[in-house]
Symmetry: C2
Subunit: 154 residues, 2 copies
DNA sequence: GTCAAAATCACTCAAAAGTATGAGCTAAAT
DNA sequence: ATTTAGCTCATACTTTTGAGTGATTTTGAC
C-alpha cells in the first residue's frame, strides 16, 4: 500500500525532493557568496539558470500528451446473416413458402423439393407460384436472387 | 521580405524581447530593493518564480506537442469479391460461358440472355449445357449456387 | 363453432429449360 | 498447314417449370 502510494505520487514526491535539494543548494551558495562577498548579479544569474531549468523540466514532466484518436477501418469478412423477419411479414410469406424458397435456393428441382418435404409435386408448384407472385418475380432464379437480397436466405 | 523574416523567426524574436524585458524588470526591482534595502531572499524568490515561469513557457513553446495515437479498429464489412481465376481455368470455363453464367445469376431467361448477347437462343442453350457439364450440375439454379461458392460471380 | 389463412392436391396448357447431335467458322497454337 | 478450342447455330426431343383454375383439408384465432 505504501509502495502503491509512492508509485502514484512519484512525480510530486520527486518534485518536492528536487525543490528541497535546490533550496538547500541555494542556501549553500548564498553562504559562500556572503563569505566571499561577490557581486549580487552572479548569484541572481545562477538562480535564474537553475530555475529556468526547473521550469523546463517541470513543463516537460507535466505536459500531458495530446491524444489523437485514429480510427482504422479494418476489413473483416463477416458471416452476418440475420433473417429479415420484417421482409417476410411484409411480403406475407408463409412458413411453408419459406421452406420451399430455401430448398429452391439450394438448386433443387420442384420434384426434389416435393420429395424432401413429403408432399406432391403439384403442391410445390402451387407454393412456387405463390412465392413468385409475392416476390414479384417470374422465375426461380430471380426468386433466389431477390430472396438473398432481402436476407430471407443466407 | 522583412515581414517574411519576422514571421519565420517570430518565436526567437519574441523570446529575445521577453528576455530583454525581464532583465530590465530585474534590474528595476534590484534597484528598488537596494534602495529600500530589503532582504536578499525576496529578490531571489522573485527571480526564481519568474525564471521558473520562463522555463515553463520556453519548454512549452519549443517542445513539440506530444501526440499519443490511440488506434481504434473499426470492423467494416466489405464488398470483397475477388474473382477466382484459378477455379475458372481449373474448370476450363470460356469467357463466353462466364458471360452467360453472370447473366444467368441475375435471373435472366435463356431468351433474355440471347438477346443481351446478340446471339440465338440455341447458342445460349449450348453454352448452358457446356456450363452445367463443366460445373457438374444439372440445373441453372445449382450452377448459380456453385458459381457463387467458387467466387466465379459475386 | 365459425372463419380465414395456410397447406394440400389435381388437371391442363404453354413456355422455358435442358439433352443430344451435328456442323460451320475463326483465331490461336503446334 | 493442320489441329484445336471456342463460338456460333440448327433440329429434334424430353423434362421441368410456370400459369391458371379449382377443390379439400388443416390449423389457428376470435
Amino acid at each position: 500500500m505504501i509502495l502503491n502510494f509512492i508509485n502514484k505520487n512519484r512525480d510530486t514526491i520527486l518534485y518536492g525532493i528536487s525543490l528541497a535539494f535546490l533550496l538547500f543548494f541555494l542556501k549553500w551558495i548564498e553562504l559562500r557568496f556572503i563569505i566571499i562577498n561577490h557581486t549580487f548579479e552572479i548569484y541572481a544569474g545562477i538562480i535564474a539558470v537553475l530555475f529556468t531549468a526547473l521550469g523546463i523540466w517541470l513543463a516537460l514532466k507535466l505536459n500531458k500528451p495530446k491524444v489523437e484518436t485514429k480510427i482504422i477501418e479494418k476489413a473483416v469478412s463477416v458471416n452476418d446473416f440475420s433473417f429479415n423477419e420484417a421482409a417476410m411479414t411484409d411480403l406475407g410469406l408463409s412458413k411453408r413458402e419459406l421452406d420451399v424458397l430455401q430448398l429452391m435456393a439450394e438448386g433443387l428441382s420442384n420434384q426434389e423439393i416435393a420429395e424432401r418435404l413429403f408432399v406432391s409435386l403439384n403442391t410445390i408448384k402451387t407454393h412456387t407460384s405463390n412465392l413468385f407472385e409475392k416476390l414479384d418475380v417470374k422465375r426461380r432464379t430471380q426468386a433466389v436472387e431477390k430472396a438473398k437480397r432481402l436476407s430471407l436466405i443466407p
